[in-house]
Each structure stands twice: as C-alpha cells, then as structure tokens.
C-alpha cells in the first residue's frame, strides 16, 4: 500500500455544493415560467443563488434542454456530435428535416410550430444518428422514421 498523499482542498472545495445543486432545478422552473431563459432571468437566478450570471449562463448554455432564445412549440434538436457525424447522419438528418419544414438549423417555422437546431451530443452515441423533440429522444434515425415523427407531430398540432 502506498502512503495516502496529504492533499490540499482542490477547486471543488471552493464551490458551495448546495448552490450548484439547486442551479439546474432553478433553471427548469424559470424556463417553465418564461418559456426561455432571457438575460434578466439568468441574472435573477444568479442573484437568488449567490452565483455570477456567467456561472449560470455557463450551465444554461451547456445543457441543450435550456434555451436562451424564443423557440417554436416543437424543438427538434439534431445531434451533430462525433458518433452521429461518423455514421454519416448528422448533416443528412438536419438537411432532410430542414428541407421538409422549409427552415435551416437555428430557425423557427413561420407558424411558430417547429424550431430546428443542431446540438452537440445527445449522449446517444451507440444508437446514432439521434435527435430530440422537446423531451423525447429518437434514435437510429432513417428517412422513413423521420417522416413518421414529423407526420405525427403535424397531426398533433
């Protein structure tokens, strides 16, 4: 057995775990109330938790499920991470959906129903290509599968 090294507190010791732990929940609540996270909302969350706006925005922008801009009713997030890219999917999937809806990634349809986004990694690398519609994940995408998803959503509207 090696002697246990005497380690000084690292960066983790500086962060108040309580504040950090509440951050995601606070952002969820704020987004539910406001639809998306405006700079004012981020400032308010930061003030309530005693964090800087930068820290809050850092977390909000990291997670694809938080939005910092107004979006459509259905947000289609197409993964453009490495696995999805390598199965030759990422660009084709977003191009295919974009052509069907008449919008490019980052845009919302004129009727406010769909927003198309490309996102970095949905943590679904084993079942690439993948996309998400609001909180629902769809994997192993094919053109037919995408048609089915969109048709169902159009039916729901």
């Amino acid at each position: 057995m090696h002697a246990e090294p005497k380690v000084k507190p690292s960066g983790a010791a500086l962060i108040d775990p309580a504040k950090e732990a509440m951050l995601l929940a606070a952002l969820y609540i704020a987004q539910e109330q406001r639809g998306y996270l405006t700079p004012e909302v981020i400032d308010r969350v930061a003030a309530r938790l005693g964090l800087t706006a930068g820290q809050v925005f850092s977390t909000a922008s990291f997670y694809t499920l938080f939005r910092t801009k107004p979006v459509g009713r259905y947000v289609i997030q197409v993964c453009s991470g490495v696995s999805c890219y390598l199965v030759d999917g990422a660009e084709k999937v977003s191009d295919y959906i974009g052509a069907k809806l008449g919008i490019r990634p980052g845009e919302t349809t004129a009727d406010g129903r769909f927003t198309l986004e490309t996102v970095q990694c949905l943590a679904s690398c084993g079942t690439a290509p993948a996309l998400r519609v609001n909180d629902q994940l769809y994997e192993n995408l094919t053109p037919a599968g995408i048609d089915a998803i969109l048709d169902r959503l159009l039916g729901e509207v």
Partner: protein, 872 residues
C-alpha cells in the same frame, strides 16, 4: 517535516514531499513535461491533455495526466517513450484544429507556449484540411483586455484564476463540445482588480493587453527586472522597453511577495513614463515673475542654492522645509533628509501621512504570515483598493485556510463579506471600540491567568463602558479575538491620522499585546515606499533607523558620518509647513497645491522648488521646477510593507534632461557645499562666470559637512547601510532579484506594553448632516493616473459622494443628481451615488479624485468632519 516520497521519472530517482504533482516532481528531476492548462498557482484540472505520460504498473503501463496525478512511493513514470511522443503529436494536432494561424499578427507570437510546444513536440505537418471554426475575434471583455475566441484552447486558466484567486468568476465556459467558448456574461465585463494576470497566464494569444497591443514583438524587447512603485506591496515586475519607450509591464515571480501576480494598476498604468507632458528640462520663473521658462541644470540649481541660502541667512534654517512623496526611492528619501539635516540644519522634512501617523516601525512581519493566520484584523485599511495583491493573499487565506476577517472600518469594504465580523465605526471612533475590546480582553486574560501577574484593572468608568460595549455590538469582534490562536493586525493611515489616530493605534497595540501578539501588528502606508521613507528618516521627528531626533547618541553617530550633526529640535510637520510654517519649501514628488486651500498657502511662500515628473498644480506655482525621472528610468531601492528592500534598476533612458531624484539632490548638495567654501580661485576655472556663480556664502562656524560623493545610486545605498543599522548588510548585489527583508533584530525598540488610553466616543454628525468618510480607491485620480493610457484613465469615476440607500430615500435625494457637499473646510460639487457599503449617517468621498474633493472637505485632517449634502 512533510512525508517524503521517492519515485522514478525516466530512470531518474527523485524524492519530493507527499502530495506533489507528478509534473512538479518531474521538474524537480530536471525533466520538462509540456503543459497548457496546468499552472503552479492554480488547482489541477487536466483539461488540455498535453501532459499525458506513461505510468508503469504491474499490469503494464497506462497514460495519465501528470498535472493531476500526485506522486506515490515507488511510482515509475516515463515521459519520452514512443507512445508519449505519439500522444503529444496527436494532442497538439487536435488543439491546432481550430487554432488560427495568425501568429504573425498575434501579440503572443514569440513568447507563446503553443508555438513553442508545437515546435518542440508537434508533428511538423498538419493532417487537417477542413475549414476552421469561426468564432468571435478580438473584442473587449473589459476596458483593459481583449478576447479572441478563435485562439483560445480552452485551458481554463483565466476561469480558474478569477475564481480561485479573485473570487470573481466572471469568465465562464459557454456552450459545449466543439462550440465551447470562453466568454463573459453580456453586460458584465471583467472588473477584478487583478484581471490582467489572465493575460500573463494565457498560454496562447486569446487574451491580449489593450494598452500595449501591437506596440512590440516580444523578441525586440529589452527586459529589466524591477518592482512596482504604486503601492506598498512592492510586486515584482518586468519592464519591457523598445526604442526608448516602456512598451509593457508584466509580472515577475517572487513567491514571497506577489507569487506571479500584479494588480491592474501596476500592469496597465505605465504610459506616464513616456508621456509627452513629462518635464524634460529644468524651468525657472522669468524675471517678471510671471512665466516658467526652460533653463539649464546649472542655472536652475544655482537659483535654488542662492535663494535657499539667502532665506536661511536672513530667517534662519527653520524657515526652510522639505515635503517629499513616499513614492520615491530609499536613496532619494535618504539624501532629501540628509540635505535638510546636514546642510540646511533643520528637521523640517515630512511626507503626507508621515509624522501625522503613528506607524509601527517594522511593518508586516511577512506577507507569508497572512496564510498562517487564523484571524486577520483590518483597521482602517481596505486592501482591495489600496493593495490589491495583498487583497488576493487575504482572500486566499479566508477561502483556503479558513482565516476569519475582522473588519473595523467606517465603510463595509469588499473583504467584509468573508466569514468573521464587520464592526462599523465612525472615522476617529476606532480608538473607542478598540479600547473597549482591549480592556475586555485584558480583564478576561487576567481572570484566566489567576496567580500570574494580573493586568492593570480597568477603572470603574472603563469597566462599565467595556461591559456595556462588549455586551452589544462589540460581542462578535470580542469572540473572534478571544478565540484567535494566530491573529494578524493590519492598520492603515485612515485609522491612524492625528491625535485620534494615535489613540486608535495605542488601543490597537494594547489589544494585540493583550492577546500576546504585539509583534503581529503592522502599519501599511498609502504610498509605495512609505516603509522605506520611514526607515530613511523622512520625518520631522525621526532620524534614519527609526530613532527620535532627541536621541543624542544617534545624532552623534550620524554626525560622524555626515560631518555635521542633525539638529536636536523636532522639525515642522507636513501640515505645518504646507500651511505657511516656512518661507521656502522644497517639494519632491508631492502635490500640496491639489486643493485650493493648499495652493493659497503656497502662494505666501518666498520661494518654492518643485522636483517632479509633471507640471503639477504645485509645480505651476514654483519658482524653480526640476525634472525628475520615474522609477523605470533610474536605479533605486524600495522597501515594501514587509520590510523587503528591493531593487528597481533603470530599464529605460530618462525623458529629456530629467535626472534621478537622488542625483538632483546630490548635485544640489555639491553646489551648496561649493557656495559655502572660501573662494580660493581654484574652483572658478570657467572662462565666463555669471555673477550668481561667484557669490559665496560665509562659512558657518563649527564642523563642516563632509563632501557628498555619490557617483551612483549604489553609492548612496552604501551610505544608507552606515546610517540605518538594519540596512547594514543590504548592498545592491546582496539584494538580488528577490530583495531582502531587513532584520528587526538590529532595531532597538521600546518593549511593547499596554499603555492607558483616555478616549471618548465620537459623536455622530448632527441630524440632517453626515460624517465624512474617505479612503483609497484603486482607480483614483492619483498623481500619475491622469497620464496613463486612455483605457486606464477612464476607469477613474467622476468625483462622487455616496450615501447609504436608506439615507438617500430619507433625504429625498436621487442617485445621479449633482449635489453640493459642504464642511467647515470647504465645499465641492459632486455626483450623488447610492452605495449599501456606506453606513447610514456617513458620506463616502474617496481620496484623490479629480479636484481633490475629499481633501478639500478636510478628510485627511485626522478628526471627524460633518458634511451637509444639498442639491445644486
């Protein structure tokens, strides 16, 4: 002794303390492991993967990051295997995928770790053919720093610095994956007082210096190790010169002083050195007495000698006085006081906050002691504004070592947010609270030490007061002090001026002594070389080496060195001289005419000499102006707040004909001495001599001063070693690049003991008016600030007065309005601000703003001043 661990790095056996990181252990073995994100002063992270090395274990070897793995006994590390080389090449390939190839226009080019490591460890060819990512380029994240997101390699050093050292996590990592960028939150620029350090530690050109941007290529610079002269911390820095211009200042490592940090003032305020308004020739007032005209050094110095001599002959030596700045070098301070004591024959020498402040002679025991303290008591001292690198050390102690802070200040300063206690006081009221605490602690100590010598019992009145006080608002402070095992006491000039200040310092000293830590009490002055100025005896009542002028033995010792003994009578203070106590005044680097009242007093002088960098308000009134060099243009030593004597060598050619302060004084003294000798004919070999050169003053009866022979600043320092006992061993060469603390053992001091303090509470300002509170602001309008770069100048706020928001509401005043602030000493027009750190009933006007509003209102008089605030 820490536990030691022995490991093998590339067949080199090395023994290091347990807990050492492998990257540092390898360095100790003389083996360099390339790094980007790792930094000796930041917590380990392992973000860049550049330091991957092989760890050999029982089941073969594996790669891991040397910057996060700590050593263990018997560990075997290999840093130069084929696998490690391949990984480094691949990793650099990844880092360079999106790094722009704009090295030819990048400020970092030539001193860039990414460039250097790509040369040393890179593949030499790129496999990458795709387009690089486009991100935001060169846009400001503050007035002082530009960010180029394309160049950033996401090492997190800037993020970690601002979080771990500044406790201001203002830069964050936004987005994720390949889109990750560092940035600030919109509308919230970086405003940390030491933000510039992130430029130094950035391993690429992502963060660049807006003041020095595009003004040099690193390989063209002449680099001179020096020290900062803007505050008493004395941070080590490097002067980067090119074509006779100071292009940039960067931090220089000194682990005992500033680690490798600088504050933004020290880093960015340097353009004054090359400013077009620098005085470049001596000036003398013309025959009509109206304008200042350029003159030769010979003429100007003779004018000074002649006039000073005439006034001394007519009115006596006591009609002459000298006011200096405590920013000047030890050599200048020493020769200044010697000029007056040995040649003029008066002790009329002082600096602002000099003899008016009761200072501990020894300063801080050591900056390193901050980290070892469990309680740091700050009385009338705001390190965040007055000494930002000390502020870093204190915040570090509070957050890392669990030190508590006891803040005693009229304003809730930034450091008051850390665990501990904040004790609000009225200016001048420090003594009352400190005395209450000291008396209570003495009583408690006496009660605990039954059988040992009891402390003097408090008198009936004091006892009652103490009891009442400690039961109420003093309780948190009392509890902190009573529980402290290693307290450190630091006070600043704002609590120590005048008669009330003397009481406060005595009470604070009693407090420290009562706790058994009388040697852990430190005074930190406002100006950079305050400690050195005191060591040199730049005081009306104190000789070099902190000995009173009344000490005959010291006078005799100095008399042997100088040829003439200094006078035994204490001289006039700064305030007395500036108020007309003398007929002729010699001002070196100070600006007493900054206030209208100060200027009026100087008008009454018969003769005024000013030695400075710029034509200050005071210089505009002068009869003779002598152009002096900045710290960067002349050799000199400076003594910081922990008594560390440090070298500040010349790093750039002086502006115009300007000369070092000490050299001007030496030249002046030579002429003074020459004017006193009998004209033997040998001296006057010049063909055409103006009349004033032939004039000779009568030789005074008694011993003659020894000749002044100082070919260099080092020669002056040699004499300082003889005049100031603790400096005896501090020769220029001995100081090295890190400086040397002078030893307190050479200083004869009175034993520290409890002295009675007779003090009354300070009455609050009458209803409808406020008690004036002043103190330092980092970005003030101090002597050099108006000559800084534009980005630096705009950090100084428009002159303002701040009230507590509740007071603002109560007085029906609105923020942003223009108000007239009136005291018994004057009135000023200021912009009104609301500030919750300002205590109710007080009005905060920072020191040294444009037009000197706080000084005009009487803030530095060392007595409570009440002010009225009315809408214009």
């Amino acid at each position: 002794m820490p536990d030691l661990v022995t490991l093998t790095v590339d067949d080199v056996k090395v023994t290091v303390p347990a807990g050492t990181l492998v990257v540092d252990a390898a360095k100790a073995a003389g083996i360099e492991i390339p790094i980007f994100c790792s930094h000796p002063k930041l917590d380990p992270l392992g973000a860049c993967r550049m330091c991957l090395v092989e760890f050999v274990g029982p089941r073969g070897s594996k790669l891991d990051t040397a910057c996060t793995v700590r050593v263990s006994e018997g560990m075997t590390v290999r840093t130069s295997t084929e696998q490690v080389k391949a990984v480094r090449e691949a990793n650099l390939g990844f880092i360079l995928i999106n790094h722009p190839l704009d090295c030819p226009i990048c400020d970092k080019g030539g001193e860039c770790p990414l460039q250097d490591q790509t040369m040393a460890y890179g593949a030499g060819v790129s496999q990458f053919v795709e387009a690089k990512r486009q991100k935001q380029k060169h846009y400001p994240i503050s007035d002082l720093i530009l960010l180029d997101q394309e160049r950033c390699i996401l090492c997190w050093r800037c993020i970690r610095y601002l979080d771990e050292w500044e406790d201001k996590p203002q830069i964050g990592l936004f987005e994720r994956g390949g889109e990750t960028v560092i940035d600030t939150f919109p509308g919230q620029p970086v405003d940390a007082a030491t933000s510039g350090n992130i430029i130094d530690i950035c391993p690429v050109g992502a963060l660049t210096n807006r003041v020095s941007r595009f003004r040099f290529r690193p390989w063209e610079l002449k680099k001179t190790p020096s020290v900062c002269t803007l505050c008493p911390v004395g941070c080590n820095l490097r002067l980067d010169e090119r074509v006779h211009e100071l292009r940039r200042i960067v931090a220089r490592e000194n682990l005992a002083v500033n680690d490798e940090w600088l504050c933004d003032k020290g880093r960015f305020l340097h353009q004054y050195v090359d400013h077009p308004e620098r005085l470049r020739t001596p000036l003398v007032r013309d025959a009509a007495g109206e304008a200042l005209r350029p003159a030769t050094w010979d003429e100007a110095l003779h004018r000074v000698i002649e006039k000073l001599g005439d006034i001394a002959d007519t009115n006596g030596a006591n009609a002459l006085g000298g006011i200096a700045s405590a920013r000047v070098s030890n050599e200048a301070a020493y020769l200044f006081q010697k000029f007056f004591r040995a040649l003029v024959g008066a002790n009329n020498i002082d600096f602002a906050d000099g003899s008016a402040v009761k200072a501990q002679p020894t300063g801080l025991s050591a900056i390193a002691d901050i980290a070892k303290s469990d309680l740091i008591v700050l009385v009338g001292f705001d390190p965040s504004e007055a000494a930002p690198v000390l502020d870093l050390h204190i915040k570090r102690a509070a957050r890392r070592a669990g030190a508590k802070l006891l803040v005693i200040n009229p304003r809730r300063i930034a450091l008051a947010k850390y665990p501990g206690a904040y004790l609000p006081v009225l200016p001048g009221g420090e003594a009352w609270d400190l005395n209450g605490l000291a008396t209570a602690l003495q009583a408690a100590r006496a009660a605990n030490q039954a059988g040992s010598k009891p402390a003097p019992a408090p008198t009936g009145k004091a006892k009652l007061e103490t009891k009442v006080a400690v039961m109420a608002e003093l309780r948190p402070a009392y509890d902190l002090l009573a529980a402290a095992k290693a307290p450190l006491f630091i006070y600043g000039p704002d609590a120590a001026r005048g008669q009330l200040g003397k009481l406060a310092v005595t009470a604070l000293s009693n407090l420290a002594v009562a706790l058994g830590f009388g040697d852990r009490l430190a005074y930190v002055g406002a100006e950079a070389n305050s400690q050195g100025a005191r060591d040199m005896g730049l005081l009306s009542d104190t000789l070099p080496g902190h000995q009173p002028v009344t000490d005959a033995a010291v006078r005799e010792r100095l008399g042997k060195l100088w040829g003439v003994q200094p006078p035994a009578e204490p001289g006039q203070s700064y305030a007395a001289m500036a108020a007309g106590g003398v007929k002729a005044l010699y001002v070196m680097g100070a600006n007493p005419a900054a206030t209208v009242a100060g200027a009026e007093a100087l008008h009454k002088l018969d003769f005024l000499v000013v030695q400075d960098l710029f034509l200050t308000e005071t210089a505009q009134l002068a009869d003779v102006v002598l152009p002096a060099t900045s710290f960067a243009e002349a050799d000199g030593t400076y003594t910081n707040l922990e008594r560390r004597v440090q070298r500040g060598p010349q790093g750039i050619k002086p502006a115009g004909e300007s000369q070092a302060d000490w050299a001007i004084l030496a030249a002046l003294a030579e002429k003074w001495l020459a004017s006193q000798t009998v004209d033997t004919g040998e001296v006057s070999k010049a063909i055409e001599q103006p009349d004033w050169k032939k004039k000779r003053r009568k030789i005074k009866a008694g011993p003659a001063p020894k000749p002044w022979n100082y070919p260099t600043a080092q020669a002056v320092l040699d004499e300082i070693g003889k005049a100031v006992p603790p400096y005896a061993s501090l020769r220029w060469d001995a100081l090295g690049e890190a400086g040397v603390q002078w030893s307190t053992s050479a200083l004869v001091r009175a034993p520290r003991r409890v002295e009675p303090v007779d003090v009354a509470p300070i009455a609050a300002a009458p209803a409808g008016s406020f008690t004036l509170v002043s103190g330092p602001l980092l970005w003030d309008n101090g002597p050099l600030m108006p000559y800084g770069a534009e980005q630096v100048r705009k950090l100084t706020p428009t002159p303002f007065v701040a009230l507590n928001p509740a007071d603002l509401t109560m007085a029906a005043l609105a923020e942003g309005r223009q108000v007239t602030v009136t005291s018994a000493y004057g009135n000023v027009t200021l912009t009104l601000k609301a500030d919750a750190s300002v205590q109710p009933g007080t009005a905060w006007v920072p020191a040294n703003l444009a037009g000197a509003p706080a000084e005009t209102l009487g803030a530095v008089r060392g007595e409570p001043v009440s002010v009225a605030v009315k809408l214009v």
